[in-house]
Amino acid sequence: MNQRIALLPRLALLLLLAALPARAKETVKLAFIGPLTGGNSAIGLGGRNSADLAVKLRNADPKAKYTYELVVLDDECKPDTGVQVATKAGADKSIVAGITHYCSVVAMATVDTFHRLALPTIVWGAVLPDITYGHSYKEIHRVNGTMINQNETAAKLMLKQGFRRWVVIHDTTDYGKGHNKFFTQFVTAGGGQILGTFGVTADQQDFTAELTQAKALNPEVIYFGGLTPIGVRIRAQMDKLGINAQFQGTSGIVSDDFIKGLGPLAEGVVAFREGAPAEKLPGGKFFLEKYAEQKYANPPEAYGPFAYAAAALLMDIIEKVGPDRKKVLAALGEVKGKDSIVGAITFDDHGQNTVAAITAYVVQDGKWVVWEDSEYATGKRKLKGR
């Protein structure tokens, strides 16, 4: 008698344990790779937080079939570190897909690694065209635009403002060289003149030699193809040498750190970037509200919405086809007109999202302001030499 009664709790426990696995969701891992330290860390952290936001919101959804976990890896904006963490992510079979890279030079370096280890990835911030167009690997996709569109728009706008003479300073990574190539192409096609081109290293400190030569050429605009740290130095040293030209940059300098590093010298600097500011995106308001709720230490910065969209897209696909790399890869190949906070995503045959929007920015009173909304566009304030 006693033994039978004692058996009952044990049976109940056994039944409970048997029932649990049927209720517990499988954990699916996604890798996030970006520059979390170094000169571009602000953008990397913004991207990480945004991807994290997407994962948190999905995990809070009771209808989700899986629990998602974001594996965060720092590529330090260095190619060798990037390949290391890419190998780590690709070799880990529990990671189903990756949201990868802001620095173009790193994204170029890891393309082969992701293909070799068969990890489907979506780039969230790197703009070098060759990342999707320079090969025929099926694994690499991208939600943000490329620098081809960016430089075409940039050339058009600056020519329309009446500028005709440029000096180009670019960093010698693929990023800077790509910008140089496309901008030169579009400006000369539009009737402008490139008076001189100078290549500088990505961690260079002193630009007085290059800028003195540039000053001798008497340009109206100095075009800079590179990232924030040396953008700050070049603009500051331009002032030291008394160069009174307009400073024009690319997506690499559209960051708060650029303005912080220059103070009043940043006023009137023009730059161009793929996509649109978060507030102007279709899902922008929703994204910014949810982001603020999480109280992250860093803002989403320029490419946060793209990281969010990439993560959300991957999770949507995994919900449909399951946590299988091959199935996810096949599904990525069929993404057409998929709705997201950055607008409709369509991957072309190279995995590139056919996004056409490019936004022009100008620094006004210590903030990056969309060109069309600025006092420079209305004529109330003037660019240098206008």
Binding site: T37, T201, A236, K240, G242
Partner: protein, 304 residues
């Protein structure tokens, strides 16, 4: 002509900064036969110490640039003098009997730790920091040459410092003690010179010099970042070896020569100024092959 003047000015400013770092290396090598590879990072730490003291002084309500400048310079040099003495006491003196390579490695690692500490612990340390404009910004345009008052002031201050240091070394008892220890440690000790005191003072002086160079660097570029010391350390060391490790005038010559090589490389090479460092270092290698003990000095650089 005006363009040439601008290039010369750029080169001279760079040369002064390299020379100040090179003098530090040469002092350390002369006195203790050590290569203090944390020297470049002490320069950066000095610049950041200056920057931090600027923030404090502004908070305290001091608005005029002159007292701000004096505070920044004093804070940087004094704190780095202390840091230099600490480095000497902790990293170098204990390893005196060890192979010279060990000391080099120890200071190299110390320098890396210092650099990473700045990056991690200074607020926003991984980003370039805006250095305040503390010198008058008036400049005269002579054609395409911008003659700036702040550059002239920094040049003058640097020259005064170099001359003062040279006088200290040649005319004072401390200088005599330093030169005695550099020449022959055993005999100097026998003569009653406090070896440890001389070493620590030399480290303090050399590091204070680095801090001054760091503040100058910050004022010149209106910016400091945690990595500035790395390349400056390598260039300063190369300049010191080029001029002759252990020779004061050699360090000066090496510093200005390297800056001249860089400027010539940037201007003369048609394809890309990105190769100016390659050109400058390449030229240094050739010069060293021709004169292994340096252009002026007699010390051997076999330890490197």
């Amino acid at each position: 002509m005006d363009l040439l003047a601008q290039y010369v000015m750029n080169g001279v400013m760079l040369g002064l900064m390299y020379a100040l770092v090179a003098i530090g290396f040469t002092l350390f090598f002369g006195v203790l036969n050590v290569i203090q590879f944390a020297h470049g990072d002490v320069l950066t730490a000095g610049a950041f110490a200056g920057l931090a003291s600027y923030a404090v002084v502004v908070q305290a309500g001091v608005a005029s640039p002159l007292p701000q400048l004096v505070t920044v310079a004093l804070a940087a040099t004094l704190s780095m003098a202390v840091l230099g003495a600490v480095l000497g006491r902790v990293l170098v003196l204990p390893l005196k009997a060890a192979p010279a390579l060990n000391v080099l490695l120890a200071t190299l690692m110390g320098g890396t730790a210092l650099r990473e500490s700045i990056r991690l612990f200074y607020p926003g340390g991984s980003q370039p920091q805006r250095f305040p404009t503390l010198l008058p910004t008036s400049s005269w345009s002579l054609g395409r040459f911008a003659l700036r008052l702040d550059n002239l002031l920094m040049l003058a201050a640097g020259a005064v410092l170099v001359v003062a240091l040279s006088l200290v070394l040649q005319r004072t008892r401390l200088g005599l003690a330093i030169r005695a220890v550099a020449q022959d440690e055993e005999t100097a000790r026998t003569m009653g010179i406090d070896f440890r005191r001389v070493v620590l003072l030399t480290f303090a002086i050399g590091s204070a010099l680095a801090a001054f160079a760091g503040v100058m660097n910050g004022l010149y570029y209106a910016e400091v970042n945690f990595g500035s010391g790395l390349l400056l350390g390598v260039i300063g060391f190369s300049a010191a070896v080029l001029g002759g490790l252990g020779s004061f005038s050699g360090a000066l010559l090496g510093g200005f020569l390297f800056a001249a090589l860089q400027t010539v490389g940037a201007v003369a090479l048609p394809f890309a100024s990105a190769y100016k460092d390659v050109f400058a270092f390449g030229a240094v290698i050739l010069l060293m092959t021709w004169k292994p003990t340096g252009l002026i000095g007699e010390q051997l650089s076999e330890r490197v």
